[in-house]
Subunit: 345 residues, 2 copies
């Protein structure tokens, strides 16, 4: 779809810092807003009515903007930031690299003690293990950031219209365009949206307009494919195409795992997908592979077979787990399956 | 020059997080590097040989990356960050908004006490007053960040090839493309470049490729205009054109100021500009306007005449000073000059 999603930007375009001075998020391109709302409506994965949209330089920046917005500004101690294990391996370092006095990483949400305020990160489907998640602490004084980067039909059945207070999305996981560095937050509370905008103002004085315009174009092409606008009838939507590729990769991975007998994978049940209009099975962006049979350092074990993975330890879990990307280039994925299939003890 | 600087990006282009895996700054587009080095060579304003280039989401992100890189990671107290008054009004808030344990704003460089380590920010030409600056603390344990955003021929004579350890530039002040959100650092020390890259990885997982490619194209057009490549002989370079506009605006401002008799402006001496090959006079991006005759709140006084400025207090100075943008759109600038000329007590 390279041609349909081509953009052309002239030298005189989008020169200003400002995009939409009447909007809380004053650096948000109106065309990007429009395409974000439209895509969520086409897919049915998240509510956008009565939500403020805040654009970020990827959802990583928005995650930090959310921490800034949700932390009490004058607390004596930094607020605790938690997530249930296994959690996204970058959360601890992103939370702590500046040694902020506003917030600090406090590890596994299941082990959070006391009755102090906290921020819980809920990634659903989860990175690394693809599970569908809900908040686990659920007590007064807590706020929740829902990271829904992987809540798209190619990864998981769309079982409901998510309507949480603060939801993060990113184009890198929706279409694969990681290099654009664009994410968006759907935010219920006006004051939170305002503070997130303030963070991005202080952090990078807004977000690239070129990237917003390109992202808008790409999301538009995806919506068109969902609505079959300008496509032959019976043509496959972007998400159906991507679902088919993911299903094929997972089939091949499960075959390889069953051949060696040394590993296990999470099992997923089919569920009714509102987008597909039928039962579909989750095919997560990562495989959370477990070494069976007493292999304690799975990352190291696989490295011996020239397979590079990330140890479960980075995700707050044990070393007998590793995370494997299911989104690498075809030739890399082929090589991974071949090498994994040939492992025998 | 809209047509010459147009870029076209197809949907399949620049999808990955990665740009140049062999480079310390692994998200740096090689074409952007090439055009940065070339432009500095055309203009003669900064050394790029034996320098690492780190790209950022504007120089604001690079400033924070530099603080992160230059702060001792395990110090008991955050390192002091200082700048001589009047300093860029955003430095204090950008330094302190996350209440980092690594660094803290400590105000005017002239009043820094003790013998602890420090980081000094030197903006030259200076925002807000256009003066040429050097470090003022100059003792052991200090490092300096040189913010050279305005060190381009339209603002100031290029009197020397800057060769400091850590220099920041941004396309927003070079060509006016603020909405692209691209800056770059020229960094002597490999370890500092590596830590700055790490900061940007944690902060935004790299920098928009679309923006880097567009910035590269625009810088190339500017270099071509300097070298008269593809232009009629005798054609005016981008910088000569912009210098002429700036000189005209400053002439009009000085006229208006002399008519009212209520204000004064900094005086600048002509100096030999290596780029222009002749004596040129500074024409800064901001006018540092002083209210004479006992008016203590110059911002408020001017607001009474529908002129919006920023009080000197934000820059660590007195309220009888204000900063005025010399870079606004023509019609806004015309209106400013008209209103200023008509002020009579």
């Amino acid at each position: 779809m390279g041609d349909r999603s081509t953009i052309v930007i002239s030298g005189w375009q989008s020169m200003s810092y400002l995009s939409d001075v009447g909007n809380i998020c004053w650096f948000l391109e109106p065309e990007f807003t429009k395409q974000v709302r439209r895509l969520h409506q086409s897919v049915g994965n998240a509510v956008t009515e009565d939500r403020h949209i805040v654009v970020g330089t990827g959802s990583t920046q928005l995650f930090q903007a959310a921490l800034y917005a949700l932390s009490p500004p004058d607390a004596f101690e930094p607020i605790s930031v938690v997530s249930a294990i296994p959690y996204y391996s970058s959360y601890p370092s992103i939370t702590d690299y500046l040694k902020s006095g506003l917030y600090k990483w406090a590890g596994d949400a299941y082990t959070l003690k006391g009755d102090e305020p906290y921020i819980e990160l809920v990634t659903s489907p989860n990175n690394p293990d693809g599970s569908i998640r809900q908040a686990v602490v659920n007590r007064d004084g807590g706020t929740v950031i829902h990271d829904l980067a992987y809540y798209w039909p190619q990864y998981t059945p769309i079982t409901c219209l998510a309507d949480h207070d603060l939801m993060l999305f990113t184009i890198s996981k929706c279409t694969g365009h990681a290099g654009i560095r664009i994410g968006w937050a759907l935010v219920k509370d006006k004051e939170v949206a305002r503070k997130m905008t303030k963070f991005i103002e202080l952090n990078t004085i807004g977000v690239s307009k070129d990237s917003q315009l390109r992202a808008a174009k790409i999301l538009q092409v995806v919506s068109h494919s969902c609505e079959q606008l300008g496509y032959p009838e019976d043509s496959e939507s972007f998400f159906k195409y991507a679902s088919r590729l993911m299903a094929d990769r997972w089939d091949r991975l499960r075959d390889a795992v069953s051949q060696s007998g040394l590993f296990s994978l999470p099992e997923f049940m089919p569920e009714s997908c509102n987008y597909a209009g039928e039962m579909t099975t989750p095919h997560p962006a990562f495989a959370w592979l477990k070494c069976e049979g007493g292999i304690e350092d799975c990352e190291n074990f696989l490295r011996g077979y020239n397979i590079l993975t990330r140890t479960g330890k980075h995700f707050g879990a044990q070393g007998n787990y590793v995370r494997v990307s299911m989104l690498d280039r075809e030739e890399t994925f082929d090589m991974f399956i071949e090498r994994l299939s040939n492992i025998r003890l």
